[in-house]
């Protein structure tokens, strides 16, 4: 390896990769945490709301809300994986190629 790690750190592609990936990672984590703690706070402080019946059946509104939390974890992971596969991996390959002697 001719180029040192300082050279990689100066690489605009590397800077873009770090900036974009960490901003996406933290944004998605934040969304996930807001959804999760929102759900927990609902359970703690508004159990009556979660216990409301949907229509005439036995299913309460808490069931779709709990399902929403689970599905949102899948959707957010899907967003991250598609971004990582389409954008970040290409950037990483370019950075690695360029730092080869």
């Amino acid at each position: 390896m001719r180029r040192s790690h300082e050279a990689i750190q100066r690489d605009p592609d590397y800077k873009e990769l770090v900036r974009r990936r960490s901003s996406l990672g933290w944004t998605l984590s934040l969304i996930m945490l807001v959804i999760y703690f929102g759900f927990i706070l609902l359970v703690a402080y508004a159990p009556k709301f979660l216990g409301m019946r949907l229509g005439t059946g036995v299913t309460t509104i808490g069931i779709p809300i709990g399902l929403f939390v689970i599905v949102s974890a899948f959707v957010l992971t899907g967003i991250y994986v598609s971004k990582a596969n389409s954008k970040y991996d290409a950037l990483i390959r370019r950075i690695v190629e360029r730092s080869r002697p």
């Binding site: 933290w26 984590s29 999760y36 069931i63 689970i70 992971t77």
Partner: protein, 260 residues
């Protein structure tokens, strides 16, 4: 290494009274008669998975083989293995039991478990892969002081292990005790010994394949059970508890809500 094993021994020793106490806390029923059918099925499954472990151990030559199966696991296989890791006895027995006994509150446990996983993916999974390292401590000690970071990571692991593993061991020990009619301490020693054999000798390849098998078995079992319950209650998922007497619909609904 010596320090680490010393710490491990201390943690194990410190957890012994908790193990015993926790066992007393969930003492359910009397000791069962020795159940040879259950023991036979268990032994067959253990022999099968130990065979896989032996096969994988023969192919493990380097640290890369041990920690990441030499990169020879496809995305789908790894997905199944992670699913197997995720769907432990907790989701199959524990969560269903919790939902049965405490209703909707039981759902919180399954949700909280799941939500941690995407965050791990978003924040550290890719860094691990790009550095070509295998553990969290490897990554952080890449830039920070080796010794301090490794001690910190070891403490974190031991605290987690102390709380998590004790619950797992108590659960597994109780299950084996109930199924086999063994003494509780024998069940715990048996389960703990098997766990150590799987991971120490097999490494990641064996663990991955054992998890894949577990995931497939659990998915099939859970799907079968859900289908069987729905079939029994005429494919009407609304009120499985009191489907029979429709005249007492209001009362039936209340009971259904309490159980659901």
């Amino acid at each position: 290494m010596k320090k680490l094993s010393c710490m491990l021994a201390t943690a194990l020793f410190a957890s012994l009274p908790t193990l015993a106490l926790a066992a007393g806390a969930i003492d359910g029923g009397t000791k069962q008669a020795v159940n040879w059918v259950a023991i036979g099925m268990f032994v067959a499954f253990v022999a099968f998975t130990l065979g896989i472990t032996y096969w994988a151990a023969k192919q493990t030559a380097s640290a890369a083989d041990f920690y990441s199966a030499g990169g020879g696991i496809t995305g789908f296989q790894n997905g199944l293995a992670i699913a197997g890791d995720y769907m432990s006895a907790a989701s199959f027995l524990g969560i269903s039991g919790l939902v049965y006994t405490s209703g909707y509150d039981g759902l919180i446990y399954s949700v909280g478990w799941l939500v941690g996983w995407p965050i791990v993916t978003f924040l550290i999974a890719e860094q691990l892969r790009n550095l070509g390292k295998f553990t969290f401590a490897d990554v952080t000690s890449f830039r920070l002081g080796q010794t301090e970071i490794r001690i910190l990571a070891a403490c974190g692991s031991l605290v987690t292990v102390a709380f998590y593993l004790i619950a797992q061991m108590v659960g597994a020990g109780k299950l084996i005790q109930l199924l086999f009619g063994l003494d509780y301490w024998m069940a715990v020693v048996l389960v703990g010994g098997l766990m150590m054999i799987y991971v120490t000798f097999g490494g990641m390849k064996a663990t991955t394949w054992v998890q894949i098998i577990k995931a497939v078995l659990l998915l099939m079992g859970a799907t079968f059970m859900a289908g069987a319950v729905l079939y029994k209650y005429r494919l009407q998922p609304r009120s499985p508890v009191r489907q029979g007497d429709r005249s007492a619909s209001k009362e039936g609904r209340d009971h259904g809500a309490a159980a659901a």
